[in-house]
Amino acid sequence: MHALLRGLDRVDGWISRFEAWCLSASILLMALNTVVNVFGRYLFSQSLYFSEELNQILMVIVTFMGLGYVTRTGRHIRMSAFYDLLNDRRKKALMLVITFSTALTLFLLSYYACLYVAKVAQRGMITAALQIPVYWTLLVVPLGLFIGGLQYGLAFIKNLQSRDIFLSFSALDVYDETSAAGEVSP
């Protein structure tokens, strides 16, 4: 295996562990937050006024941190009817185009997201309930889009270097048969 790929493999591992932690924590916190709000309302006649806002922030984290992780595991939804008809060489060529252009698009969006976050920061908006700067809650957006772009970039490199066709750096272009609800591929 090339040293480059090994290095990338390691970076990919760090990123994925970080993402996995964020995602998992966000979902559990979302559940906790909502449950506590219900109990607060009934036991103490007291709603958590920030409950909704916290959930919204967590949703943004799950969506954008998830973008990279979904890419990494090759789980993005695609309609592959036409693609599946191609022979392997053409599939490979098309996959190179797909991974490369998707990476570029996500980098572009990440750039726009940086501009957006900078604008929001400059305007000094604060959130309605938690009274924290709005831009804090948005930092995950450029980051997530960037990691997503990076993942597609890695997939592009992997496809260049390897004989097989890769949907992402670590996921081959095949559907695995584990069909239980939402099981993570190893």
Partner: protein, 322 residues
């Protein structure tokens, strides 16, 4: 008339026939006439271009020329503007309120730099009528609000204001209010009578309570950059027209409130309409004193100044007009 009309995009938060729509239509009519066909106003209805926060930002970006947003949503841009969320902060006189909402120096001059920092210019404020309560329970005194789950907008000041009045404030997105009232997840909601009719909340409540504790205030904002790019004469024209429309609407609103109330009572005769008398209102008024203190706490040093200045203005107009 110009060869090609310039299009001004104007968004409202609600649907056709609501007070915000009537305001927008009136502005459209007047400004198109005054500019003699140079300008065409295009109205975008609620939700099509995003949430209230979205359209406010879009106005700041210049993607929209005007956004009508309820004042409660502007607190995240300029905290001081939450002033209007304090119950009984406005006058009992419609004429005084017209002055405060179109000319207040505290609001339109002193807060202007804060709005400008957010890329916004606050053009005009108007009232959509009193914030009446559509409720599952009759309310005549603060004691009746005990354990009463009142739907509010998400903002710390509203939370405090409704706690002070005696209720259990429950933040809920507007879209979920109808269902929550029907299933009695919440006990009531405060909204202008027009919107209680339009949003059909009267279908799922039994009591309509007029405590006249607060007016539902709505604001027209525009982008500071866009507005600055207009020639001074045009700027003045827009400013004047919005002020005219605000005054016109506030003259209309009492009549509209009557109309919408009549419609509610006609479509639902068993609805109990409770109009609190002065003695009953005083009990709520006393409680709202506390909320003023909370406003100052929340906004910081500046808050005391803002509150004092505003109340001084109110007093001055009251003396002058009554």
């Amino acid at each position: 008339a110009g060869v090609q009309a310039e299009t001004w995009k104007y968004s409202i938060e609600v649907s056709q026939g609501d007070i915000q729509d009537l305001y927008a239509q009136e502005f459209k009519k007047r400004i198109e006439q005054k500019t003699d066909g140079d300008v065409e106003v295009k109205i975008y209805y609620g939700g099509t271009l995003g949430t209230s926060a979205d359209t406010t930002e879009l106005a700041a970006n210049g993607a929209l020329q005007f956004a009508n947003v309820s004042l409660g949503h502007l607190g995240s841009f300029v905290p001081e503007i939450q002033l209007f969320s304090i119950p009984f902060i406005l006058s009992e006189s419609n004429d005084v309120n017209k002055k405060l909402m179109t000319e207040s120096k505290t609001v339109f001059e002193d807060m202007a730099p804060d709005f400008a920092k957010s890329g916004l210019r606050l053009m005009s404020i108007y009232s959509e009528g009193e914030d009446a309560w559509a409720a599952n329970r009759a309310v005549r005194s603060p004691a009746d609000l005990d354990n009463f789950k009142m739907r509010i907008l998400v903002s710390p000041l509203q939370v405090e204001a409704f706690k002070d009045l005696g209720s259990s404030p429950t933040p809920l997105p507007f879209g979920e209010v109808y269902g929550a009232l029907q299933l009695k997840v919440i006990d009531g909601v405060g909204n202008p009578i027009s919107s209680i009719y339009q949003s059909k909340f009267f279908e799922v409540t039994d009591h309509l309570i007029s405590a006249r504790h607060q007016l539902f205030t709505s604001a027209i904002v525009t982008g500071e950059d866009w507005f600055g790019s207009l020639p001074p004469a045009r700027q003045q024209l827009v400013q004047e027209t919005l002020k005219e429309v605000s005054i016109h609407m506030m003259d209309e609103v009492p009549r509209l409130e009557e109309q919408f109330l009549a419609k509610i009572l006609e479509e639902k005769p068993q609805m109990e309409y409770i109009r609190l008398n002065e003695a009953q209102r005083d009990l709520f008024r006393e409680r709202a004193e506390k909320t003023r203190g909370k406003f100052v706490e929340l906004v910081g040093d500046n808050g005391r100044q803002v509150l004092d200045n505003f109340l001084a203005e109110r007093e001055q107009w009251e003396a002058q007009l009554n």
